[in-house]
């Protein structure tokens, strides 16, 4: 068994170098396709991060009664914060609300009209950020039930629906596009490897004629395909690492507002590139050799 694996690996290595032109062509195709796939993955990750950022802007706002005692407000705040779907609860008292209103007016260069008022007309509010913008239902109903504290809850249904429709369309579109690119990559790589195998049809025929078992014919080719995939993936990762610094300098200003974690992104990307490369290399060889062994 061990000698069979050693034999297959040795033959795969020989096969790769003795057919250097085809091997290099297959590897180059692999690299091009994996770079394409990586670029798509990065762009889609950016898109997804942007969409998450937009979705997090959706919050539930409860206007509080002016006569609600502070104790009950802080109790409600704690109750809401304890709900599983809530990410954070912020209490804005009347004075802060007025100050924020004044600041907004000033930023827009409008006259501060509040100075003519003898009382503060703005309600205190609880601003609730959700973990998932879909799940506002129970938060809203909990707030509405507390009529002793809560005056009104802003209707967020419409806003949430609209934002989510747009982000879902963009996400689905992105995934469909990634799927199409993935399929293209699959066909091109499998076909390139098929060419490399077809170029050695005579070798396979001779192996069959001298009485090599299917396993002895198949495994060296599969290892060779995996080798092409591994090599292609490693070259791709090197290229990406070289290209990452200048690209991220460019993109940092754009991405800095987004919750994009570059560390986990590059780790995911490395895993995807390696798995795709080795997987497709292996699959391509398997499929190609199979058609010769089926006879």
């Amino acid at each position: 068994m061990l000698s069979f694996v050693a034999f297959s690996l040795r033959r795969a290595w020989q096969g790769f170098w003795r057919n250097a032109v085809m091997s290099i062509a297959a590897t180059a195709t692999m690299v091009l396709m994996l770079v394409l796939l990586s670029a798509f993955f990065v762009v889609l990750s950016g898109l997804d991060a942007g969409l998450q950022f937009v979705e997090q802007k959706v919050e539930v706002v409860a206007e509080l009664r002016d006569d609600a005692p502070d104790l009950k407000i802080s109790q409600l705040q704690a109750d809401i914060a304890a709900l599983p779907e809530v990410q954070s609860v912020e209490y804005i008292d009347k004075a802060t609300a007025l100050a924020q209103f004044k600041q907004r007016m000033a930023e827009q260069g409008r006259e501060d009209l509040t100075q003519y008022l003898d009382a503060n007309p703005l309600p205190a509010t609880l601003n609730i950020k959700l973990k998932d913008p879909h799940e506002f239902g129970s938060v809203v109903s909990t707030l509405r039930a507390r009529t002793d504290v809560v005056a009104t809850v802003e209707e967020v249904q419409n806003l949430v629906d609209r934002v989510l429709t747009v982000t879902n369309v963009l996400r689905t579109g992105g995934l469909v596009l990634l799927g199409l690119v993935g399929l293209t990559v699959l066909f091109i790589i499998v076909n390139t490897i098929r060419l490399a195998v077809v170029a050695r049809a005579e070798e396979i025929e001779i192996m069959r004629l001298v009485g090599a078992s299917d396993a002895f014919i198949r495994w060296p080719f599969i290892f060779e395909g995996a080798l092409v995939g591994l090599l292609g993936a490693l070259i791709t990762l090197v290229l990406l690492a070289l290209g990452a610094a200048p690209l991220s300098n460019l993109a940092t200003r754009f991405f800095e507002i987004l919750p994009l974690e570059l560390g986990s992104l590059s780790r995911n990307l490395a895993i995807i590139v390696l798995a795709t490369g080795i997987g497709l290399g292996t699959l391509g060889s398997y499929v190609s050799v199979r058609s010769y062994l089926l006879k």
Partner: protein, 261 residues
């Protein structure tokens, strides 16, 4: 648990089907025949019938010329022998094994009992003579330390020891064919099948190849050679099997290429 009732009827059906073949296998053992074709017909999926009712018995150690025009069925016959194709009707029994009954996984084992030689040599251009011959052992799982001595032995037999490190492109046609013969021999086959082995060679070299095959035959290996080369067939006066339109029209010992009566 599998039902115990399921097995016996199936086994019975099998043994019924196996009966004629079993009978032939026993017969082939008695006669020391390496190869028996019984009533073999081969019809391809496109409807073309390449062989009709072929009966042929080749005893161990025989030297047989298979002659006939292109399209007479020689190639199909050879394909049946190496189980590249399966007979539509009848039995092909090689060394006591019915090829039609052979499991796909057992085919490689049968092929190792046969050495095959082609008109176009079928050598791997990127491998040296030594590697081309060793390849046949390597890909059938022979331990590496046994490959070297076996290869040197057959290279000596075909007279190519001095060219062992050369590539096929550096060899003459005759040397390339001798490399192919060495590769066919390295498994110690019981039967050598040569399909037009001299088709690409000039007359002098052809004679060298025939002499080599005769010497191998003298060592006890059965040789079946398909050929168009009338001069060689007539000169050697061996057994001649002639195919015409898929039928055996002549099977004579000590015969010439053409019918003499």
């Amino acid at each position: 648990m599998a039902s115990p009732n399921a097995a016996p009827p199936r086994a019975a059906a099998r043994s019924l089907r196996d009966q004629p073949a079993a009978h032939l296998i026993a017969e082939s053992r008695d006669d020391q025949a390496i190869l028996v074709l019984h009533d073999v017909t081969k019809t391809y999926p496109n409807g073309k019938t390449a062989l009709r009712d072929v009966d042929l018995v080749i005893p161990e150690g025989d030297f047989v010329f298979l002659v006939g025009a292109s399209g007479a069925g020689k190639s199909t016959l050879i394909k049946l022998l190496i189980r590249d194709e399966i007979a539509s009707k009848g039995a092909v029994i090689l060394d006591g094994l019915d090829l039609a009954r052979l499991n796909r996984r057992e085919v490689p084992r049968i092929r190792r009992k046969i050495g095959i030689i082609f008109q176009d040599f079928k050598l791997l251009p990127t491998k040296t003579v030594r590697e081309n011959v060793g390849f046949a052992l390597e890909v059938t799982g022979t331990p590496r330390r046994q490959i070297g001595p076996a290869v040197e032995r057959v290279l000596a037999l075909v007279g190519l020891s001095a060219q062992a490190a050369q590539l096929p492109s550096q060899l003459s046609g005759g040397e390339q064919q001798r490399t192919a013969i060495a590769r066919a021999l390295v498994h110690d086959p019981r039967l050598i099948i040569a399909d037009e082995p001299t088709g690409n060679l000039d007359p002098l070299i052809s004679w060298e190849i025939i002499q080599l095959l005769s010497r191998i035959n003298e060592l006890g290996v059965t040789v079946l050679m398909a050929t168009h080369n009338a001069e060689i067939v007539t000169a050697l006066r061996r057994r001649v099997v002639a195919l015409e339109d898929g039928r055996i029209t002549r099977d004579e010992l000590g015969a010439a290429y053409h019918r003499e009566d």
